[in-house]
């Protein structure tokens, strides 16, 4: 258990920090802040830095972590299904500290004002340079979802992020949302922009016709004389979660048997370290780690779980560490490996929060960001409304930002019910903030943004909700897709996550009356995956919401409509 003790040791050592109250009393948290990035001495002989799911957030942002992140079956109460105080207790993080703010929703508004915005590629570049200076030869890995999630990324088809990745020094990446610019776009970037700069790996992407490989399954990099293989795992359900027409020529899937072959092949070629750069999501990675052997560490993303320490998974080849590095540029995963005698003898990991006010902006990155934003400045800055309440998205069932979108959809489309997808990206605004056009795009910037109005029977509504609920709560992680529950406006319901498929959603009501399976309802939504919806010349959702916001000028606090939870009691994945 030596490795585990080390990991716990790091956690304890890294917990220097002061409670929020004391920080406020003393002004800027000078003492804790000055040393925040000191507590991470280099270790071993292979340094790996990991970012994932930055969702194209070039500037520092606020991002409230979830207060609801339920695990079902064996996952209940286990990382990453811990929120708030349960998370702090599990990882021995002191309340009120910068770490507590980075990893939890607790006291979000006050802590966010005290500690400032997080992430941003200019502070991130400074931090990466510091970490790399102390770790000669280290590698920077990007787990994907880097080209999507902002106005400028959408309007440049990811070009702003591609330039930023190259300047940041990303060595290897894999992907998910990148494919929603079309598979041709991804192939073009890999062949041209990335050539000689960034390796793109994805063992589980094949041609739809002959099942041929499309990208390198892995690359082997030499770090201080040690052969390190990085295997890529793109999001397995990309063509299901998004419109198929965007990547009709490709097929995905988990393909753990093929993954085993890739790992074995890399080991056979002399790799002393094998890492999986994964966009599976943490629950899938935890299962995969029991089935595939020979991977030292899975550097995971997709589910946006900011997990302070790895989970150690035993398998027939030994043990695999499973990590997940959060989202929106809030964190850098720092993995230090001591490789001796041809294998990993010891490991240290920390998920390091990126506090923008503690890291001076890197001048070259700041200049690049300024350059890519300049042509769009006027549109990005347009004030739409002022919010009186906090606006956030993340959480299993609903967030106040989703409620705002639902309210706008129902009002503008004259619908009784509205659906909004359970995306996990989207930045947070504090009470009193001006919602600028750019902020609206942070919630909606996708390549299939059409707002729909559909007449649906009660039976169809139930089918849709059961379908999405199973994607989230199927007890077998391989059947989960990793998003959150579809957000529902207008209609109340109850949900029992541990019930079987088709039996989770009950007590559906509209204006106090039970939903009638045979009756037809008007349902507004957005992000349709069908070709017919693409061709129907519908307006994009940002136009709908912008119109509503401009008319309102001031938005009162949104209380997210939450379903009644059935069978959930004292769950560490639910805020108490």
């Amino acid at each position: 258990m030596r490795r585990r003790e080390f990991l716990q040791g790091i956690a304890a050592a890294a917990l220097a920090g002061l409670p929020v109250d004391r920080i406020r009393a003393e002004g800027p948290d000078a003492q804790a802040a000055a040393h925040f990035y000191d507590a991470l001495p280099p270790f071993g002989n292979v340094g790996i830095l990991h970012i994932t799911d930055t969702h194209a957030q070039l500037l520092p942002i606020r991002f409230r972590e979830p207060s609801v992140n339920l695990g079902v079956g064996a996952a209940r109460g286990q990382p990453p299904h811990l929120v708030g105080e349960a998370l702090l207790r599990h990882f021995a993080i002191a309340p009120g500290t910068r770490d507590a703010h980075a990893f939890t929703y607790l006291d979000f508004e006050r802590a966010s004002r005290a500690f400032g915005a997080m992430g941003g590629f200019a502070p991130l570049a400074t931090l990466v340079k510091r970490l790399r200076a102390a770790r000669p030869g280290s590698l920077l890995l990007d787990g994907g979802d880097s080209w999507q999630g902002s106005a400028t990324s959408l309007w440049t088809r990811g070009q702003d992020m591609i330039e930023a990745q190259k300047l940041l020094g990303v060595d290897v990446m894999t992907a998910h949302w990148e494919f929603t610019y079309g598979s041709a776009r991804v192939k073009e970037v890999v062949a041209k922009d990335f050539a000689g700069h960034v390796e793109f790996v994805a063992q589980n992407v094949r041609t739809a016709d002959f099942d041929d490989p499309v990208f390198k399954p892995y690359v082997v990099k030499e770090v201080n004389g040690i052969q390190v293989a990085i295997v890529g795992q793109a999001f397995p359900y990309t063509p299901i979660a998004h419109p198929r027409y965007l990547m009709p020529d490709l097929t995905f899937g988990i393909r753990d048997q093929d993954l085993q072959k890739a790992v074995d092949e890399a080991r056979g070629k002399g790799a002393q370290v094998v890492l999986l750069l994964s966009h599976n999501g943490m629950d899938v990675d935890l299962k995969l780690a029991t089935r595939v052997s020979g991977i030292d560490v899975i550097l995971g993303g997709h589910t946006h779980d900011g997990v302070p320490q790895p989970t150690v998974v035993a398998n027939r080849g030994g043990r695999t560490l499973v990590t997940n590095a959060g989202s929106n540029g809030k964190f850098v995963g720092v993995l230090d490996l001591d490789v001796r005698g041809g294998k990993v003898a010891d490991a240290r990991y920390r998920l390091l929060p990126v506090f923008a006010d503690l890291l001076p902006a890197d001048a070259a990155m700041a200049a690049l960001i300024e350059r890519v934003r300049a042509p769009y400045r006027a549109k990005l800055d347009e004030p739409l409304a002022v919010t009186e309440g906090i606006l956030y998205r993340r959480g299993n069932f609903n967030g106040s930002y989703d409620q705002l979108i639902l309210d706008a959809l129902m009002a503008e489309k004259n619908a009784e019910i509205a659906f909004s997808p359970g995306f996990r990206w989207g930045t947070t605004l504090l009470p009193g903030d001006t919602i600028r056009y750019e902020h609206l795009m942070d919630q909606t910037a996708i390549t299939y943004p059409w707002a729909t109005v559909t007449r649906m029977t009660g039976a169809t509504i139930k089918t849709i909700m059961e379908d999405v609920a199973d994607n989230l709560f199927n007890p077998d992680p391989y059947y989960q897709q990793g998003g959150d529950m579809v957000r529902v406006g207008g209609m109340r319901y109850a949900i029992e996550p541990s019930a079987p498929m088709g039996k989770r959603v009950t007590a559906m009501e509209l204006a106090g009356k039970p939903i009638d399976a045979a009756k037809t309802y008007t349902v507004a939504g957005w992000a349709p995956v069908s070709e017919a919806a693409r061709d129907a010349k519908l307006e994009p959702v940002w136009d709908v919401v912008a119109r509503w916001l401009r008319a309102k000028k001031t938005v009162s606090p949104r209380a997210p409509e939450q379903p009644k939870l059935v069978g959930i009691r004292d769950d560490p994945g639910l805020a108490s």
Binding site: F235, T238, R244, T303, D470, G482
Partner: protein, 158 residues
């Protein structure tokens, strides 16, 4: 046409091969696939019991020697779901694919000629999320394994 080839066409490889050869004008489909080889009744059953009965009766035993491969957990397209099955049961005679919630449960039946590696891949159409059974007949006994394949409405990925 030599006897081995005729046997293969008659018994397995599937109707698609016969159809292909027939379309190419190489064979007379009526001669290559005699009526008795097509178990019409089995392909019109709606549940496991009647499918088994139509296939010749028998109670299947769950077996770890029947294994799915290259088969998704969530289908990318319910109209063409890849299914691969291999059998390590000695003397495997046939491999059937049953989709529990399809209108007709039996999706495909492969007869495995003696000396052939019992591994098949094909694509099946699925109406909805369902358990899919791989049913192997060997030495007159039936062996089965199953897995759920989800057919989702799509969208809503994080």
């Amino acid at each position: 046409m030599d006897r081995h080839r005729r046997q293969a066409l008659k018994s397995g490889g599937g109707l698609s091969l016969v159809a292909l050869l027939a379309a190419a004008g190489w064979i007379d489909p009526a001669a290559a696939a005699p009526a008795e080889a097509w178990n019409k009744a089995a392909f019109q059953t709606h549940d496991m019991d009647s499918t088994l009965k139509a296939l010749g009766d028998g109670t299947p035993v769950p077996s770890a020697n029947v294994v799915f491969f290259s088969t998704p957990d969530i289908a990318e397209n319910g109209a063409v779901v890849p299914v691969g099955i291999t059998s390590k049961v000695p003397n495997t005679e046939s491999i059937a694919i049953l989709v529990e919630k399809n209108p007709n449960m039996l999706a495909a039946l492969f007869e495995i000629p003696t000396g052939t590696e019992p591994a098949i891949t094909t694509r099946v159409k699925m109406r909805e999320t369902s358990n899919v059974y791989a049913l192997v007949k060997a030495g007159g006994n039936y062996y089965v394994t199953s897995k759920e394949i989800k057919v989702t409405l799509g969208g809503c990925g994080g």
